[in-house]
């Protein structure tokens, strides 16, 4: 078997394992989803239900809720495997840790980030999102939540065995550009401007973030096993 093939097999193995494990436990993909919807519900309760007011806030509220939901879900990436010793086995197996991290982040995003896209569809009705903003909202959330999963993985790896709120304190300030760009996509679409320039920025951050943040996460895992 060629070198490339074994790497891909290793990647698929981890991905499949993580996906199967999370679908066996309904909590892993239900909890972030429900958390997201609850946060969305809190805003009309706190701010009032006036339609035009809510619709001006809608994109920002959806983005903040998505940010919180995906960053608080990071605990499930490494903590479980760390507690039962699976992570130790992964590390001593001699397979590249970088690929492991990549597969685990992708699995985590498929389980927690992708359902958020569906939930945001529902929340657009709750918050009266203005017409024609669905596409920019979904595409910015698609790229943004993956970036957030990458950042969350770094936070989770740095705080293995500790609470998720610590990793949120560390990672939330770093996620500011994602939030600003994500909301900028939607507001520029609302004003009828070309929103693709902001999407390119998000894409560029994704292109740097996938290798860069995975590398940092790998290093963070090694620090724990020093």
């Amino acid at each position: 078997m060629s070198e490339k093939n074994t790497l891909f097999n290793w990647f698929m193995l981890v991905l499949k394992r993580d996906l199967v494990l999370s679908f066996k436990k309904i909590a892993t993909f239900m909890v972030p989803l429900v958390f997201f919807l609850i946060v969305i519900t809190l805003f009309p309760l706190a701010l009032g239900t006036e339609g035009s007011f809510l619709s001006t806030l809608s994109s920002g509220v959806i983005w903040v809720a998505a940010l919180l939901a995906s960053l608080l879900a990071v605990e499930s990436i490494f903590n479980e495997d760390y507690r039962d010793g699976t992570l130790d086995q992964f590390l001593i197996s001699g397979e590249p840790t970088f690929i492991l991290v990549l597969a685990k982040v992708l699995a985590h995003w498929l389980v927690t980030g992708a359902p958020l896209l569906l939930a945001s569809l529902i929340s657009t009705f709750f918050l009266y999102l203005p017409e024609g903003l669905l596409f920019p909202l979904l595409i910015s959330l698609l790229m943004g939540t993956f970036l957030l999963s990458l950042l969350g993985a770094l936070g989770g790896a740095l705080t293995i065995g500790k609470t998720a709120i610590l990793s949120a304190v560390i990672v939330l300030p770093l996620s500011v550009p994602i939030l600003i760009l994500g909301v900028a996509v939607i507001t520029s679409a609302l004003n009828g401007q070309d929103f693709f320039s902001y999407l390119y920025f998000l894409g560029a951050m994704l292109a740097i973030g996938i290798p860069g943040l995975c590398l940092a996460t790998t290093e963070a895992i090694f620090i724990n096993y020093d």
Partner: protein, 252 residues
């Protein structure tokens, strides 16, 4: 020659030698920095001309600008030493990071608070959501993140390396944060110091400000050296040289 410099650097990186060097340097360096700082502050607050537009309120600049500059440059220093700590696993670099982070957080907080005090009479409000204020606030949160990370890890070496990693990642993301925060319209006046063009204020105000900045830097390094000495003593408390040093201290 290069070998000599290398040897000198490596010897400086060893905690006992650095401790001895710092103990020797600190007393006179501290007095010099106090001298520079008070020269700058007294000149600035007492003798610099009054601003024709803002009146005497502008004098807060002599505290605000130096601490804002320090808040940013300490994070950069932390990232550089974090890089050294991650790659060469130099003990002293980790200790540097640990001693620098609270100082950086304090200076950023001083910059924020003095800015708020300055903003009240000039802008009429304590806080404005302007690009530079916002990125300073985020910088403060980044400091808090680094501090809470290393203080949550019991093993000191691991804590050093985790904090190093997050400060290196942070320093790469900070330009992106600044750029993205710039989308907002800015209410803040353009920056006081520029490298490329001549200063926009008169030299009577500019010179004391420059002295204040140098004085703040000197004070920073004095505090840092002192904190590093304490950190070295705590970390190396089980070694023979620390015991010997403490015995000598007690005898004196």
């Amino acid at each position: 020659m290069i070998n000599l410099i290398k040897k000198w650097l490596i010897s400086l990186g060893s905690p006992p030698l650095f401790f001895k060097w710092a103990s020797k340097v600190l007393p006179w360096f501290f007095s010099i920095s106090i001298l520079i700082l008070f020269t700058g502050l007294i000149w600035g607050i007492g003798f610099a001309p009054t601003d024709y537009k803002q009146g005497d309120v502008y004098r807060i600049i002599f505290i605000h600008v130096p601490s804002a500059i320090l808040g940013q440059s300490i994070y950069l220093m932390m990232a550089i030493f974090g890089f050294i700590c991650l790659i060469w696993r130099a003990k002293l670099a980790g200790m540097f990071l640990r001693s620098a982070a609270p100082i950086g957080a304090s200076f950023t907080l001083i910059a924020l608070v003095s800015g708020a005090v300055w903003g009240k009479p000039t802008w009429g409000t304590w806080w404005v959501w302007d690009a530079r204020l916002t990125s300073t606030l985020i910088l403060f949160f980044l400091y808090v993140g680094v501090i809470s990370l290393y203080s949550s890890i019991d093993n000191k070496q691991k804590g050093d390396r985790a904090a190093s990693l997050i400060s290196v990642v942070g320093v790469i993301i900070i330009p992106i944060i600044k750029k993205s925060v710039d989308w907002w319209q800015t209410l803040h006046q353009p920056s006081t110091f520029t490298i490329t063009s001549a200063p926009s204020m008169t030299s009577d105000m500019y010179l004391p400000l420059l002295i204040c900045v140098i004085g703040f830097y000197c004070i920073l390094f004095s505090i840092l050296l002192n904190r590093l000495r304490a950190e070295i003593l705590i970390r190396e408390r089980n070694t023979s040289w620390v015991r010997q040093f403490l015995d000598n201290q007690i005898k004196e």
